[in-house]
Amino acid sequence: MIRLLKYAKKNQMYAYLGAIAKLLEAVFELFLPILLARLIDKGINAGDTDYVIRTGGLMLILSVVGFAFAMVCQYSSSIASQSFGTELREVLIKKINTFSHKEIDDFGTSTLTTRVTNDVNQLQLALAMLIRLVIRAPFLSVGSIIMAIYISPRLALVFAVLLPIFAIILGIIMWITVPLYKRVQLKLDQMAQTVSENMSGVRVIRSFARRRYEAKRSTENSEQLSKANILVNNLSALMTPATTFVMNIGIMVILYIGAIQTNNGALFQGEVLALINYMNQMLLALIVVANLVVIFTKSQASASRINEVLDATVNIENSTGTYTLEDVQDKPQTAIRFDHVSFDYDADAADALSDIDFSVPVGKVLGITGPTGSGKSTLINLIPRFYDVTKGKVSVYDEDVTHFQLKELRNLIGFVPQRNTLFSGTIAENLRWGKADATDEELYDALRIAQMEEFVRGMPNGLESTVSENGKNFSGGQQQRLTIARALVSKPKIVILDDSLSALDYETDYNLRESLKGIKDATVIIVSQRISSIQSADQILVMDNGQLVGSGTHEALLESSETYKEIYQSQTDPSSTILEEEEKI
């Protein structure tokens, strides 16, 4: 949490102002009991009505000023804490933007969103609290002691003895309860997970008749949660009674000694009353400190989740690369080359790719096929550096990909991912992702290649037609063609289609591939399980278990690769043709 405070810098003036204003309010508050003591001792005892009213007036002024300072504090702390949260969200989003696919996969997208929103909110609240209380509470306790010394140095000793006792009690309780609070959170998370799983898996759960088991699981979970809650709350409920008890003893001591001193004429009645009030104030301030610590520990969980994101080492470093397209354009011999590339997602896991070696000349079409999990997607993800190789080298235009500026490299490549990801907005907005200043004509050019032009022109709003989140208002095939068009708007040198033709019928698939060939100098990589989509490629790679098990043209592979032949036969046997393809269009 402390580390994150640096993001509050921008408006740190407000933070300090808030804390100081709160402190000043406390100062004025401290004067009230002593003024009341004066009012009693000098005003009432002396029968001086004027003095009483004057002192009352002074107290009113102090209260008003104190209130004004309190408002200044609330205002400043709202600015400081909200801008802290704003800054933190900004920093987080920027950091997430530097993540490679690996970090995004490791975290998971839903938790990243939660961290940007909920966790930041938690910290925002904690900071507001901190500003309000961090100076005030300790000050009130120390201030109470100082005032006590001022009234009676000897009686102030009681305060000095009690303060550490308070601190120890609070410390012990906190030390015990903080880990227990974390346990409660853990149990709560488990509860959420159980419910969530029961919602999404309802059909499976009922088909296996596991309702009773699930109910048992959740009952146990509820039981544990309630036990954890009761335990931690019982312990933390000790705080007030324990401290109050100690304080009460203090009050009794003050009354006793105060009585002796009053009898000796060293103290006045009103002063004893004031001492008791200060004692109360000190206790309240200390309880606030304790609560502050609780809030802090609770926000600690959020803070560490945010720190996890900020601390994540990003695998892809952009700093080294300086090359742009101009630097390499003169020597366009090979568009893509893999030099004995190996890759694993996790040092502990087996290689996802091992010793892949091939190259693609400029302007050619490369097909990649292989069974589920054979490493096809992994392979092409290495080209735009969504991941970096573990061993070997990937080159684009004869230059190591790590030598490029990351943005330049990715601009060079039109990438169509496996999952159709469209964003809410309009068709034009989605298409302009690759090139913000593309004209409508350029958009239609891309749509034409993607076999989507007629469709879009046929829509009442054309390019301005609305796209809902995830493109749900379009069919799978239409989504696929839109994502392909999006990748083509910037006229990339290398087009990569990661299984992006699967929802198209054969005819559209064919037309699309033909028009891709029409793009001048463009190198095209098509990943597909469907042999017909890659059959006509200049070169085909066959992957299995992370290894390159075959390479060559369709005809050559039919001769040389057993795997390829098997895949081919599984699809060409008329009895196994995909019947429902039509409906997906």
Binding site: E29, I40, I44, T49, V52, T55, G56, M59, L60, F67, M71, S78, S83, E90, I93, N97, G108, T109, S110, T111, L112, M191, V195, S196, M199, V202, R203, V204, S207, F208, R210, S218, T219, S222, N233, N234, T244, N248, M252, L255, A259, N263, N264, F268, N277, A349, G370, P384, I413, F423, S424, A436, Q529, E566, I567, Q571, S575, L579, E581, E583
Partner: protein, 583 residues
């Protein structure tokens, strides 16, 4: 901060839950009263003791000692009862909430599938967590503060009246100001809060969309643009959030200010009364009165402080009861038959069904399937193929007609035995957070490791499982490894293979698996389907061709029935669908 009308019936039902802990609650109440009385008594005793300190040489020590002893006793009793009240309230509150959780979950498990298909999952999760947690917090606060607070208010009021009716009047006149401040602040801050909530919702939505689409954001170098949009929303959020936070934070200083004014008024008014000798007010009276008045106002400040929490809790409570009140699936008849090792004869007789009464979906459907037959269901998306399965599994109830298994109406069987008779593999895979082994074993919890591995092998999942970091003990889900859709599908297939059910339902079971693996699994499936009645929704013609019966569905009704050769001869819908692939 949304104001929710409090439904008295909800609170009444909550007291129903309280009944189980009646005794603890009553004991808590008694201790609450004790603690309230103790608090006020100690204050009274402090006043008495101060009164003994009249001045130099005039202190009545005997009286002081007596008072101090009583004070000690009062303190001890107060402190102990304070803690006991908290402990008992914790017991009652958290146990009530536990019971509510268990009941709600039990209810959730009985709800018809239509509830799950229509309700946002995140929403329900939030009821189990956020809503119930805020309820337990509010319950603790109410139980531990309410009685003590009420006692303190009345006792302080009594003492104050006894000490000085005039000063009491001053305090009583000031008290409503606390509520006025609370009301004003709530009124103004609500507007800002609503605005803030809306923007926060938009920002979350945007962040979630962009983070989910990160891979595309990367591929297009769209980071800067996205940061710009986010920045705009973020600034907006700052503007309204700051206003909301500020306005709502006024309550605290304002209440304190009112408290201070009350404090000084007692001094001034009391002082004048003492000097003028009116109302038999002494200095001791003022001292005690200061303490009583702050004791008197404290519960008011606290109550206005927890009002929002209580409101939130009540709103949450009514959402919880809404789940509990949703009508459940029709319960099994007491004399329901347990379906055991069915032969597998399935008859649809004049079945009609629709999700929405306005649009008919399935009408007067009659099919007869002999034991061991394979039924392929063919048709376009939305033709009602999955609906047929929903009905077969009794996930939804028929509007008309019957489905008979082995000649007996399926509603006469227990639901569980009916459902476990079918092994179901769906297009949407479901794996829970647990190990690979636990997931495969879900349908047959007592399966041995050997059986699990055997099932995984027949589903062609064994080789990729072996390559996972911890093999069969690899954790899936959050904090675990994420599998490709194809791999997930293989695991769910292994799960059904292990359960070895007498009948099968395969709904696009291999849609995300590559053709090669699919062909391999197919062999395993065929072996399994041999001798078992199977319903298969598939797009592969080989499966369809070998089916004994093909149901061609269109717009909710079965338009053609027959085997492949018959249907081809008919030159109807199926023929056209088939031909469109070979032109």
């Amino acid at each position: 901060m949304k104001k929710k009308k409090i439904h008295p019936s909800d609170l009444k039902r909550l007291t129903g839950y309280l009944k189980n802990y009646k005794i603890i609650a009553v004991v808590a109440l008694i201790f609450g009263i004790v603690s309230g009385v103790g608090t006020v008594a100690s204050t009274y005793l402090i006043g008495l003791s101060i009164d003994t300190l009249v001045g130099a040489g005039e202190v009545d020590f005997t009286a002081l000692y007596r008072v101090l002893i009583w004070l000690g006793v009062a303190y001890l009793v107060t402190v102990l009862s304070q803690w006991l009240v908290r402990v008992l309230s914790n017991q009652v509150s958290f146990k009530i909430v536990r019971d509510l959780r268990v009941d709600t979950f039990y209810k959730l498990n009985q709800l018809p599938l239509s509830f799950f298909d229509r309700t946002s999952h995140g929403n329900v999760v939030s009821r189990f967590t956020n809503d119930l947690e805020s309820l337990s917090e509010a319950l603790v606060l109410i139980l531990s503060n309410l009685f003590t607070g009420v006692i303190i208010i009345f006792a302080s009021l009594g003492f104050m009246l006894y000490l000085s009716p005039i000063l009491t009047l001053v305090i009583v006149l000031i008290t409503p100001l606390f509520f006025l401040v609370g009301w004003l602040v709530a009124k103004y801050s609500q507007k800002y809060f609503t605005k803030q909530q809306n923007i926060l919702g938009n920002l979350s939505g945007y962040a979630s969309e962009m983070i989910t689409g990160q891979k595309v954001v990367k591929a297009f170098g769209y980071e800067a643009e996205m940061e710009k949009t986010f920045h705009g929303m973020n600034l907006d959020l700052y503007n309204w959030g700051q206003k909301a936070q500020f306005t709502s934070s006024v309550t605290n200083p304002a209440s304190r200010f009112i408290d201070h004014v009350a404090y000084l008024l007692i001094g001034v008014v009391g002082g004048i009364l003492v000097i003028n000798g009116t109302g038999s007010v002494t200095i001791g009276t003022i001292s005690s009165f200061v303490i009583y008045s702050s004791q008197f106002s404290k519960p008011f400040i606290e109550i206005s402080g927890i009002m929002t929490q209580v409101q939130t809790a009540v709103a949450g409570l009514s959402r919880i009861f809404k789940i509990i009140d949703t009508p459940v699936e029709k319960q099994d008849e007491p004399d329901a038959i347990v379906l055991d090792k069915p032969q597998g004869k399935v008859d649809f007789k004049d079945v009609s069904f629709s999700y929405d009464p306005k649009t008919t979906l399935i009408e007067d459907l009659t099919i007869s399937v002999e034991p061991g037959e394979t039924v392929a269901i063919v048709g376009q998306t939305g033709a009602g193929k999955s609906t047929l399965i929903n009905l077969l599994m009794r996930f939804y109830e028929l509007d008309k007609g019957t489905i008979e298994i082995d000649g007996i109406d399926s509603t006469e069987y227990t639901r569980d035995s009916l459902r476990t008779s079918f092994g179901m593999v769906l297009q949407d895979t479901w794996l829970f957070n647990g190990t690979v082994k636990e997931n495969i074993r879900y349908g047959k919890p007592d399966a041995t490791d050997e059986e699990v591995i055997k099932a995984a092998k027949s589903a062609y999942a064994h080789s990729f499982i072996e390559r996972l970091p911890k093999g069969y003990d690899t954790k899936l889900g959050n904090k675990g490894i994420s599998l490709s859709t194809g791999q997930q599908q293989l695991l769910t297939i292994a799960r059904v293979m292990l359960a070895d059910p007498p009948m099968l339902i395969l709904d696009e079971a291999t849609s995300s698996v590559d053709t090669l693996t699919e062909i391999r699994i197919q062999t395993a499936f065929l072996k399994m389907m041999d001798g078992r009645t199977s319903f298969v929704i598939a797009h592969r013609l080989s499966t369809i061709r070998e089916a004994d019966v093909i149901l061609v569905m269109d717009k909710g009704s079965v338009v053609e029935v027959g085997n492949h050769d018959e249907l081809m001869k008919e030159k109807g819908f199926y023929y056209r669908l088939h031909e469109s692939q070979f032109k």
